[in-house]
Amino acid sequence: MSGGATGPERKLIDTCVHCGFCLPACPTYQLSANEAESPRGRIDLMRRHSDGAIQLDSDFVGHIDSCLGCMACVKACPSGVDYETLIVEARSMIQSSFRRPGRQRLVRKAIFAVMPYPVRMRPLVRLGSLAKRLGAERVAPRLSNGGVAATFASALALLPRMTSSSAPARGRLYAASSPRRGTVGLLTGCVSAVVFGSTEQAAVDVLRAEGFDVLVPAGQGCCGALAEHSGESPLAARLARKLVARLDREQVDAWITTSAGCGSTLKSYDRLLPGEASAAKFSGRVRDIHEFLHQQGLRADYKPLGIRIAYHPACHLANAQGIVDEPLALLRAIPGCEVLLPGQSGTCCGSAGIYNLIEPATAEALGTAKASAIAELRPDVVAAGNPGCLLQIARYSDPGLASAHPVELLARSLAAATASGEA
Amino acid sequence: MSGAPNQGPAILAPASSAEASQMLGSFEPGQNVRIKGESPAPDVGLATIVCANLHGYEHSPADQTLVAAAGERLGAIEGMLAEHGQRIPAFPLTARERNMTLGAWLASGADTAAAQRYGRFRESMIGAEFILADGTRAHSGGRVIKNVAGYDLAKLMAGSLGALAFVTAASLRLYPLPRRAARVTVEAEIPRAVALVDQAHRAGIELATCEWGGGQLEIGVEGPSAAVEAALRKIADLLDRTVGQLELSEGDQGSPALASRLAEERESFAGTIVKVGTRLSGVAGLHQAIVSRGLAERGVRLHSHLAVGIHYLGVPAGDGLDGEVDAILRSMRLAGQRIAPTAPADGTIFLGRRPGGLATMRRLLDSFDPQGRLVSPMRTSIITETEMPG
């Protein structure tokens, strides 16, 4: 890849004609109305930097940092600008050439020292959840006005009160429970593996019921998405290479992910590892679970649930992967469900990878707005295809609102008693 | 040339822009002139420049545009365009209006029932050629219907009562004559008339004209025959009648009968005509105030291009009615303008709330005509209002 110390390629920058069609799509511009907080503004900053007209200083970095990476602008752009590559490469340039203030550096270091590694993440999450039950949340914000403690407070607020313990066992092949249609592998990821074990279990249940053998390889680790989206390209490339090496020899028809954020990176390892054939081949087999199930067509017997579902289209699903209709179609396949979209459904919830940890103010504004748009629908459950979104929405929603990955609802529907249609 | 500027009061009737420019340019400092459509009765002490001798037009039927010299008469323009199946956005015209020059018509800022469909006449002015008080020749806009080059001074000339410049030609957007036009008259006092307009809007009826006066509402619809038919059915539904029961009339030019009658009534009205704009629903309050204060009984009349919110108050002369109408307008925050007679005793044509931008209007007069050569009730009124305290 280019980027690195030099920043995005000039040719890529110049595909932006500054028309401004991205402005209404961009959550940070909608909040701030500041040109520099918009996609074309950020691209213009990259252009000006490449011209040598502005410095790589903390102001510049601040405007690039504030991007959620939600890619809503990509959908709005009539010129087909590859904003994802631009922002990733600008961030990569910042990480390699800009010395952040000590506190920021520490925060990022802490995040990337823990998050990609389930082994480190798991005990911390357990501890955090326990602390939360004991009321630490009320104390944490007072600890500090910034830095690591503030990040800790943000992270704490996101944690569910109970961690999930029902993740499928690693290193096993779960056999299809219906006439067999193929073999898939489940990508278990890092954060998701710790906090969202139940989603993984649901994915296994649904895939089996749909006639797939499901392989859950052990020792997968992080896919590198969080690191890539934050400009930590070398780290991301390292993680990606490791994952590909680990999974390269497994014989599966498709690799399934339940995380939209991971999916968009998993599908573009050729950008992270250019020229590495095994990486491109791996990426070519990655499918988001909604995409996969919809492509294959549902055959299992889904029973009525009788609930109102608010569906939040995760940015990395809808914008980065163009998976818009599939999740809705799957949810609507559950008899007796009402599936609703909140107002401004295309706007990011503010989760955006590690964004809610490093830009808490913007994340809070977006999270609050999203939660209230969802609350207006008076749903029984909010569904989203990305774990980060679910944590973020839950944080700003009424504690009584249940949240679930769509595949969990499918699994519940499968398990529901035929007659009662319990909710 | 009918007179020389240096020899005291005279009628100047230039036959070309160049001549007009030269006439105005050769005025001595301190000499005043007023702009008119045509020669008035001799008026001692004031030179008058008239546009009646400025002739010529260029009609581009396929482009639906007309450039006409200011001396062309509206009736002649109307007739010429009708032969091409086109019209200017001003109808119905009274006999007096047909005989008016385009220049005088523009300067007056007059409205007709056509405002409902096409907006005020100014909306269709796509260019103007004019001479400033010092003889400077200028134009703005052009002959194409879409054009944003430079300031839109053409629309500024409309309704300026000759206070800014001597308009020598105007460029207009034209419209096809409707294939069929019909109008329905209903007895309806103002509150019901306003409600009917709202219902018509909601029913998807496109009103071509919408006139109110003397307790009657007249709705015009235009278009292909089937569309007119359908609109009439909808109107009948609103009125709980069948189409056959409608008080209906049709005319090839779509000239609304009530509109003509009301316009003629205004022309022969013995008193002042005050023009005022409101929101659609605002006219109900205005009408209510006139009735409740007993002004209707004392002869104050209301006419209205109802749905566009342009109204006329006929105020009989004498009896202090002017002051009462002024008070009503003020209390309702409505701005009115005397349109006839235009030179009242107290020196201002404005009634009620002062129009916005008076200070800028004053500066504009000073900038366009720094020596104050052009005598106009608009100028007098703006100066009077800006020099009055509060």
Partner: protein, 492 residues
């Protein structure tokens, strides 16, 4: 007390504006952000402002302008920054006063059919918010999802549907403005009739040179009962042009008639996949709207006009979704040109609509001579052309040739009785071309208007009017036509 040095005054401005504007966070001073306010939608022009005031209220705009007036500091108002003539490029040593955060809809009256909005509201938002009442705001610039009502007022914006419905000036009842001397006035009224001189009309389309709009009263229309849209393909631009004339000659005023040539079709198709025919030499999008029976009758006539002029294929929009897709393609046309070439100039000129086919031929000749490609998108119904001159910015020769072709095209428009701009405005880009359309008397009359609003000349200086600094000491002089000199023709 005037402060002698320019930089001293700016320092004072920066110091005092923070006190005047209650929320300090709306002053943008960081170098990176300031740089991003250097251009509007036309990136060829750039000037970094000294300060950006991101106003949250009319009061803040008022305070900022008053301070500019007191210190003699030039300013420019800015909405969404989507203008295409450099109109919102900051004046040198100037201040940007942005209304992008003022997005409130203050009133919607469904009976009187009026919306009162703040200037930062996006055009399309007005229609979205009034849709529940069956109403909409008619002017629809291609950038309507982004561009602000305040910017529309400044530019007197048009759009595809202005053939039938008119321009911004026909739909704005009144505006509250802060004049360059710091005073606030409401121009116009709640009805199209307001006594006095019609300053509203002058302000509309004045491109920020008369002040900043802080509140707008908009006229709303009923959503048409029926809309029908077709795309008609033709094997030549001439026959497409003939179809336009035939439709108009039949006395039909369609809601819109758009024309695209083969290159433009290709660009739009690549960008949004609107389903246009890639093998057509030209295509018309014709839309008829209004009461159902009227639409049905006129739509059939439009179709037969296209057939009699030799259309090779008519695609009829079956439903709203298809109609949206057809328009999505057209509205993305400018930005989509980026798919054809690394750089392009969007030109905006007007000719009498009967001259459309002939100017297309002339544009093709100009392009051939320069060895460039030109894609054409027209609002054909009103003669407004948007040639997109494609070039490679890495080649200085091509860049220069593109600029030359673009300006030759507008000169051609003026030559055949048209205008240098139909909707993008003069701005910085065409200030020097004004002399092709207006002579010294015309420009003087306009200056007299400007002075009445802005005696100090601090509102968006350097725009619209040719200046020696911009255009050299000898801007092109207007040459009178012999017919005009002889009195046989009237000049426009």
């Amino acid at each position: 007390m005037p402060i002698a040095s320019r930089s001293g005054r700016m320092e004072e401005f920066k110091r005092r504006v923070v006190e005047l504007v209650p929320q300090g966070e709306c002053i943008i001073g960081d170098a990176a952000a300031l740089s991003s306010y250097g251009s509007d939608g036309l990136i060829r022009f750039r000037q970094t402002p000294e300060v950006v005031v991101l106003a949250k209220s009319a009061g803040e705009i008022h305070s900022a302008v008053k301070l500019c007036a007191e210190l003699g500091i030039p300013f420019v108002g800015r909405g969404s920054g989507t203008g295409l003539s450099g109109g919102a490029v900051p004046p040198p040593d100037g201040v940007v006063i942005a209304a992008s955060a003022m997005k409130g809809i203050l009133e919607i009256d469904p009976v009187d059919r009026i919306a009162v909005v703040e200037p930062g509201v996006a055009n399309l938002v007005v229609s979205e918010r009034t849709a529940p009442f069956g109403l909409y705001y008619a002017p629809d610039p291609s950038s309507q999802s982004v561009c602000s009502i305040g910017g529309n007022v400044a530019e007197n914006s048009g759009g595809a549907h202005c053939l039938k419905y008119g321009f911004t000036t026909n739909h704005v009842l009144a505006i509250e403005v802060v004049l360059p001397d710091g005073s606030v006035e409401v121009l116009g009224g709640e009805s199209p009739f307001e006594p006095g001189l019609d300053l509203r009309s002058s302000f509309l389309g004045s491109e920020g040179t008369l002040g900043i709009v802080t509140k707008v009263w908009l006229r709303l229309l009923s959503r048409p009962e029926a809309v029908r849209t077709l795309v008609a393909d033709f094997d030549s631009a001439e026959s497409a042009g003939a179809a336009v004339s035939a439709i108009i000659a039949a006395g039909i005023v369609p809601a819109a008639i758009e024309m695209m040539d083969a290159l433009a079709i290709e660009a739009c198709e690549k960008a949004v996949g609107a389903g246009y025919s890639l093998d057509a030499a030209a295509a018309l999008i014709v839309e008829v709207d209004g009461p159902r029976e009227e639409v049905d009758a006129l739509y059939e006539e439009v179709k037969s006009a296209c057939v009699s002029c030799g259309t090779t294929k008519i695609r009829e929009a079956a439903d709203q979704a298809e109609r949206s897709r057809i328009w999505l393609g057209r509205k993305a046309a400018f930005a989509a040109a980026g798919r054809l070439a690394p750089a392009y100039i969007v030109q905006d000129g007007v000719v009498p609509r009967t001259a459309l086919a002939s100017i297309l031929g002339r544009i093709a000749e100009l392009a051939d001579d320069a060895g460039l490609r030109v894609a054409n998108v027209f609002h054909a119904g009103d003669g407004n052309l948007h040639p997109l001159v494609l070039y490679n910015p890495d080649s200085p020769e091509e860049s220069e040739a593109a600029e030359r072709v673009a300006s030759e095209i507008v000169e051609l428009c003026v030559e055949i009785g048209g205008s240098i701009t139909g909707e993008h405005g003069v701005g910085l880009e065409k200030a020097c071309s004004m002399a092709a359309m207006f002579d010294s008397g015309d420009l003087e009359a306009m200056q007299r208007l400007r002075i009445a609003f802005d005696a100090q000349g601090i509102a968006n200086p350097g725009k619209v009017f040719p200046t020696p600094r911009l255009c050299g000491d000898t801007p092109g002089r207007y040459r009178a036509h012999p017919l005009e000199l002889s009195g046989e023709a009237i000049r426009f």
